[in-house]
Point group: C2
Chain length 247, copies 2
DNA sequence: CGTCCCCTTGAATGAAGTCAATACGCGTGG
DNA sequence: CCACGCGTATTGACTTCATTCAAGGGGACG
C-alpha cells in the first residue's frame, strides 16, 4: 500500500529501496488532517513548510478586493506545494481544502536532508515543481484561448491524467468533489454557464456526471474537442540520478 | 554599470563582493545574441541550459493545433527561465525574442557551482523562481476574473513594477516593444478589442501610449481600476543567507 | 418542516469577437 | 523617385458567446 506520491514518482523515476524508505519516513512526520473547506494557508501569512498532499483535494485561490475569486490550481493526492517557499516573506494566495485532507508538512531542514541524500529524489521533486509550473502555464492558455466548452473539456482531461498517474481513476471514471460554482471559479465562467457546458458535453456523449462521479465516455473525442495535448504533464519521465534526460 | 539582474538582486538581497563577482563571471560566459522575433527554444526541444535575459524582451508562448496562440509570460531583462530544467525531457512551450536579445546560457554544472558556493545566491535564484510562479498565477487570475479593460490595466501595472525593479523606467514611462496583436495574445483578447481598451484608458487619462512608449499618467488610479496588488511580485525581499524571512 | 446549498433552465442583457474598410509608416524594387 | 506591398493601428457595424436575472426542484441537515 504505497501512497499516491510514491506511486507517482515510481512511474517516472527509478527509486531505490533506500529512496522509498526515505520517502516513507518523511511522509510519516508531521501529518496533519483538515476538514473540508478549511483553509490551509491564507494570503498574507508566512509559509512555514513544504506541504505534501496525501489524501483529498485542495485548491489554491486568490480573492480580488471586490470579492471575485479565482481558483488557480487544484492540488490532488501526491501533489507538492512550492518547494523552497522559505525565500518568500508572505504568501500571495490562499490554499483551501475541498474535501477532508491529509497532508504532511516538511520543514526546511528535513527537505534539505532528503534532497541532499538522494539525487533521484532531488530530481523527482524538481520534476514535480516543473510540472506544477507547466500546469499553471497551461491554465493560462486554457483561460486565454479556449471557449467555455473547450475549457471544461480540457480541465476534465487534465484531471483524468493527473489522477490516473496516482491510481485514482477507475476505468474512465473519477471522483470530482467540486461544485459547479467552484468549476466556474477555476475556469473563469459563471456557474450557470458551467451548467450549460456540462449539459452539452453530456448531450454529445463525451462524459457522464452524476453525484460527483465524472465518467469519460470517449476520451479521444474529448481530447480532440479540448485541443488537449498531455505533453505538459511530463508523464512517465523515467529518469534516475546521473542519467541525462536523453534516452 | 551593473546589469539588470545584479541591480534586481541587490534590491532584495545583501550581496557580498564575492557574490557580485561570482554573478559577474557567470554572466560573462556563453553570452548569446538573437535577432528580434527569433525563437530561443521551441516546443518539443530538449532544454539545454538555464537561460538568463540580459537585454531585450522575450515571451513564452504556446500554440494550439488550430493556430491560436497564447503568450504565457513576458521575459524582461534580469529574468531567468526555469531553474533545473534538466529534469524535463522536452519543453512544453516555446520562447521567442520580441526585440533583439542578449542572453546568457548557464550549464547545469556552472549553476550548481554557483548556488553551492553562496547561500545568498541560492536564495536569490529560488526567490526569482518563486516570483515567476507567482506571476504565472496572477495571470491566471487576470484572465479568469478581470474584463478586458482591467486586464490591460493590470498588465501595464505589472510591467511597470517589474521594469522599475531593474531601473528600466523613466518616471512613469517605459518602452513597450509589443504590438497590439501580441498584447491580445497575452491577454486573451482580440486585436481590435485591445485597441478599444487602450483608447478608453487614454480617454480616461490613465495612460499615454505612442510609438512604443507607454506613459502612466495616474498610477494610483490605474492600480485601482486594475485591482492591482503588487504583493505577488515579492519586491524588496531583502534577505541574506541564514536569515529567516521573518524580520 | 423550513432553510440552505446545489443543480437546472429560460429570457434578457452585455462584453468581446468577427468582418470590413481606412489610414499610416516603412522598406523594396521597378 | 514613386508605386506597391506589408504590417500595424484605428474605427464602425453586426454577431455571438457568456453573464445576469429570475425561478423552480431536489437533497441534506438542524
Amino acid at each position: 500500500m504505497t501512497g499516491p506520491l510514491t506511486t507517482r514518482l515510481a512511474r517516472s523515476f527509478r527509486l531505490t529501496e533506500q529512496d522509498r524508505s526515505r520517502l516513507d519516513t518523511l511522509l510519516a512526520q508531521r501529518v496533519r488532517r483538515l476538514a473540508g473547506r478549511e483553509d490551509l494557508i491564507r494570503e498574507g501569512e508566512r509559509p512555514q513548510a513544504v506541504t505534501l498532499v496525501l489524501e483529498g483535494w485542495a485548491y489554491r485561490y486568490k480573492t480580488l478586493e471586490d470579492g471575485r475569486r479565482q481558483i488557480i490550481s487544484f492540488l490532488l493526492p501526491g501533489d507538492v506545494c512550492d518547494l523552497n517557499v522559505f525565500t518568500i516573506r508572505e504568501s500571495d494566495h490562499s490554499i483551501g481544502a475541498i474535501t477532508p485532507l491529509t497532508i504532511v508538512e516538511i520543514t526546511s531542514g528535513a527537505f534539505e536532508d532528503m534532497v541532499g541524500s538522494s539525487g533521484t529524489l532531488r530530481s523527482a521533486f524538481w520534476w514535480m515543481s516543473h510540472v506544477n509550473a507547466a500546469i499553471q502555464r497551461e491554465w493560462t492558455v486554457n483561460l486565454g484561448q479556449r471557449d467555455g466548452y473547450e475549457r471544461m473539456a480540457h480541465l476534465i482531461c487534465e484531471l483524468f491524467y493527473r489522477l490516473e498517474e496516482t491510481g485514482l481513476t477507475e476505468g474512465g471514471s473519477f471522483e470530482l468533489p467540486v461544485t459547479q460554482n467552484e468549476m466556474g471559479e477555476a475556469l473563469g465562467l459563471s456557474t450557470v454557464h458551467i451548467n450549460r457546458v456540462l449539459k452539452e458535453l453530456r448531450l454529445n456523449r463525451l462524459i457522464a456526471l452524476k453525484e460527483r462521479t465524472m465518467s469519460i465516455l470517449d476520451l479521444p473525442a474529448l481530447q480532440r474537442k479540448a485541443l488537449f495535448n498531455p505533453t505538459y504533464l511530463h508523464l512517465g519521465a523515467r529518469l534516475a540520478v546521473g542519467e541525462t534526460p536523453a534516452e
